[in-house]
């Protein structure tokens, strides 16, 4: 019975993790930019939902629809105006750039929202559903379903639409794609916009579940790193699989080895994967 509950906990946690990591993985895979801003984008999306709910009574599920275009625009403009200048430079430079931008963003949030932890508490709460002996919180369940949906959408966009094919083409071979008439700069900006969008829409989900503070971005970023390595870079299904795997490993790790070792276990797994399957569970060699 306990194992069933733990498995369910791991799955819903994993869904949330997948949501956190999908955009990060996309940007890293396509642009070869390690976007340190990703964690703070999530937190910013969380604040958007928090204030929309507290001040205007807008439900966080609705905030997701507001966050999506806003964050896409933010990411698009940021890529076009700032990050694009660094795109051809070695990965360490763009990492430093987004690190700097992240410092600015998190300190701006610190000034605007104070360092106090805030938690979006729904009234009435969404409650829980019981499936036999297993109890599942509705907010996490919804987050998992939404993560699945968003990931599926992103996958469809990448595999079916013209712009999606262009993104994949640029990811495979930038020069060849450019020669085929793909506007690489445009593709980069759209990809970065999509990455920011995924971060921004995870925010309202996160704010319903975790207390947020302007400086909690790095925690989510750390998870995103592990998930990308687990699942494989730049692969949308990879982020999903990586997220679910991490959620389940952490949950059973806490059960078997005690909660103090759950995090250690996930990083041990990271090292093992890097050693035996560096391209990740679903990644393809050479594309990252």
């Amino acid at each position: 019975m306990l194992s069933l509950q733990i498995l369910a906990n791991g799955l819903v946690l994993g869904g949330l993790y997948a949501c956190i990591a999908a955009g990060f993985s996309l940007v890293w895979g396509v642009l070869n930019v390690i976007n340190i801003l990703h964690g703070s984008f999530i937190v910013l999306g969380g604040y958007l939902a928090f204030f929309a709910y507290v001040k205007l009574g807008i439900h966080p599920f609705v905030s997701i629809l507001i966050a999506a275009p806003l964050f896409f625009a933010l990411g698009y403009v940021l890529q076009r105006s700032v990050i694009n200048r660094m795109i051809a430079a070695p990965v360490l430079l763009s990492l430093t750039l987004t690190f700097g931008l992240d410092l600015m963003l998190s300190n701006a949030m610190l000034a605007a929202f104070t360092a106090d932890f805030k938690k979006l508490t729904l009234d009435p709460p969404l409650g829980v559903v019981s499936l036999g002996p297993v109890v599942l919180p509705v907010d996490r369940l919804a987050a998992m379903l939404l993560a699945l949906l968003l990931t599926a959408l992103l996958y469809l966009v990448l595999s079916r639409s013209r712009i999606g094919r262009a993104i994949v083409a640029v990811r495979m071979d930038r020069e060849a794609a450019a020669l085929m008439g793909v506007k690489v700069k445009e593709v980069y900006a759209i990809t970065f916009g999509l990455g920011a969008l995924m971060a921004g829409v995870s925010g309202p989900l996160i704010a319903m579940i975790f207390p947020i503070s302007p400086l909690s971005g790095p925690v989510y970023l750390g998870k995103a790193f592990v998930i990308c390595v687990l699942g494989g870079l730049g692969s949308v299904p990879g982020a999903m699989i990586g997220g679910l795997a991490l959620g389940i490993v952490e949950s059973f790790g806490a059960l078997w080895f005690g909660p103090e070792h759950a995090v250690t276990l996930s990083f041990t797994l990271l090292i093992v994967i890097l050693l035996v399957r560096p391209e990740g569970l679903l990644g393809r060699k050479g594309y990252a």
Binding site: M1, L2, Q5, I6, N9, L13, L110, T114, A115, D116, F117, K118, K119, T121, D123, P125, V128, S130, V135, L136, P137, R140, I209, F210, P211, S213, L215, S216, V219, K223, E250, S251, F252, G253, A254, L255, G258, P259, E260, H261, A262, V263, T264
Partner: protein, 397 residues
């Protein structure tokens, strides 16, 4: 730079190079704080407490030193929630910023680490947020603390629960693996066992844990009567929420230290109801102090006027640390570090914070910390009887 700006620039450089020369009539106290990083909310509380004291003291003309009055200045250094950097920050404050006295960095772990620096340079240091006895048992002469040992929180709590809920037998403890939260959990285990209760679960969780579902599911399977969880605000908001997610109910749920903070109550909403906690101080206590703030009521009033909020124990402790320095300096009649240290060691004064007397290790031993419970969204003191505002209620769901 244009030539006519040069003299001004030189004067500025000279002023910057010799802070001691311009600051003769100022008492400088160093405060290394985790202003950025995960502990930043705690740093903000410390800062509010210190600033309120410094402003109040300066408004009254400053600290009386012999027959003159000296203003106070608090010098902050950010150590980014990183303990090794807290030690460096303390050393920098003493050697470069030439502060006269020091406040410890936040929490037991960092306070202990930095205490060796203040001991080396013989700088009287007051720790406003360090309770663990291990911080003070190093034989140091210059470290003083405003928190009583951890068992002074768990002992009265266990007494009340034993007295009012005889059926409470099975205790589950979940502790953040961090110096203070773990130490208080271990005290709780001792207090529970001493009273014949059965500790059915005792686990630690790592700092930065994002999910407590597994640990809580295990706790649920043990059907405990008393759940005792430790951590800081974000840990305990998340944990309380996940307890509800897993439909965990128990007659008694205690969380330390977060419920003393309004953010925790705001963050958990209705789930805060009937959660018990204990802290070293509460705005409801009533003392008639000889310090700059006087009565506890006066302190609370001054704090509200300045910050539009009620002070919690961490903020009050920071203010108390300042007020205690002031009492010691005024009694010593000098800013000589050795004499001020002796005045602290022999202090026996009433303050808004409570009676202040330091034991042989430097840790305060004169306080009786209140036990309280969140009732109708407000912290309600249930012990000690002298300041009780309500009875302990059973049942957390």
């Amino acid at each position: 730079m244009k030539p006519f700006h040069l003299p001004a620039a030189l004067a500025l450089a000279a002023a910057l190079a010799t802070p001691a020369a311009v600051a003769q009539d100022v008492i400088r106290i160093g405060a290394p704080l985790p202003i950025t990083g995960p502990l930043s909310p705690e740093a903000q509380k410390q800062q509010r407490g210190y600033d309120l004291w410094a402003e109040t003291a300066n408004k009254a003309g400053g600290i009386k030193v012999g027959n003159k009055r000296m203003k106070v200045e608090i010098v902050y250094v950010d150590y980014q929630s990183n303990t090794p950097r807290a030690v460096q920050a303390a050393e920098k404050l003493i050697t470069q910023d030439k502060v006269d006295f020091l406040f410890s960095p936040f929490g037991s772990g960092a306070a202990k680490a930095a205490s060796s620096v203040s001991e080396k340079y013989q700088v009287p240091t007051i720790a406003a947020t360090a309770s663990s006895a291990q911080v003070y048992d190093q034989g140091y002469k210059f470290l003083f603390g405003t928190f009583t040992p951890n068992d002074t929180l768990t002992e009265p709590l266990s007494d009340i629960v034993r007295k009012q809920a005889a059926g409470v037998q099975r205790v589950a403890i979940l502790a953040r693996n961090d110096l203070f939260p773990l130490a208080i959990a271990q005290e709780m285990e001792k207090s529970a066992k001493k009273r014949g209760m059965n500790v059915v679960y005792f686990e630690k969780y790592a700092i930065g844990t994002l999910d407590h579902a597994s640990a809580l599911a295990q706790i649920k399977s043990q059907a405990p009567h008393w759940i005792f969880a430790t951590g800081y605000t974000n840990d305990l908001i998340l944990m309380r929420k996940q307890m509800a997610d897993l439909k965990i109910e128990a007659p008694v749920v205690t969380m330390i230290a977060a419920p003393a903070y309004q953010e925790w109550i705001d963050g958990t909403g209705k789930l805060s109801e009937n959660v018990t906690s204990a802290a070293w101080w509460h705005p409801a206590v009533r003392y008639n102090g000889k310090d700059i703030f006087g009565t506890t009521e006066n302190y609370v009033k001054a704090f509200r006027a300045r910050y539009k909020a009620d002070p919690d124990y961490a903020e009050a402790s920071a203010s108390a640390a300042g007020a205690i320095f002031q009492l010691a300096i005024e009694k010593a009649g000098t800013t000589d570090r050795i004499k001020v240290r002796d005045a602290l060691a022999s202090m026996k004064e009433m303050t808004f914070w409570g009676p202040v007397q330091f034991g042989p290790t430097g840790q305060i031993n004169s306080l009786e910390p209140p036990v309280f419970q969140i009732q109708k969204g407000k912290p309600t003191v249930v012990h000690p009887p002298a300041i009780r505002q309500g009875e302990l209620k059973l049942g957390v769901q």
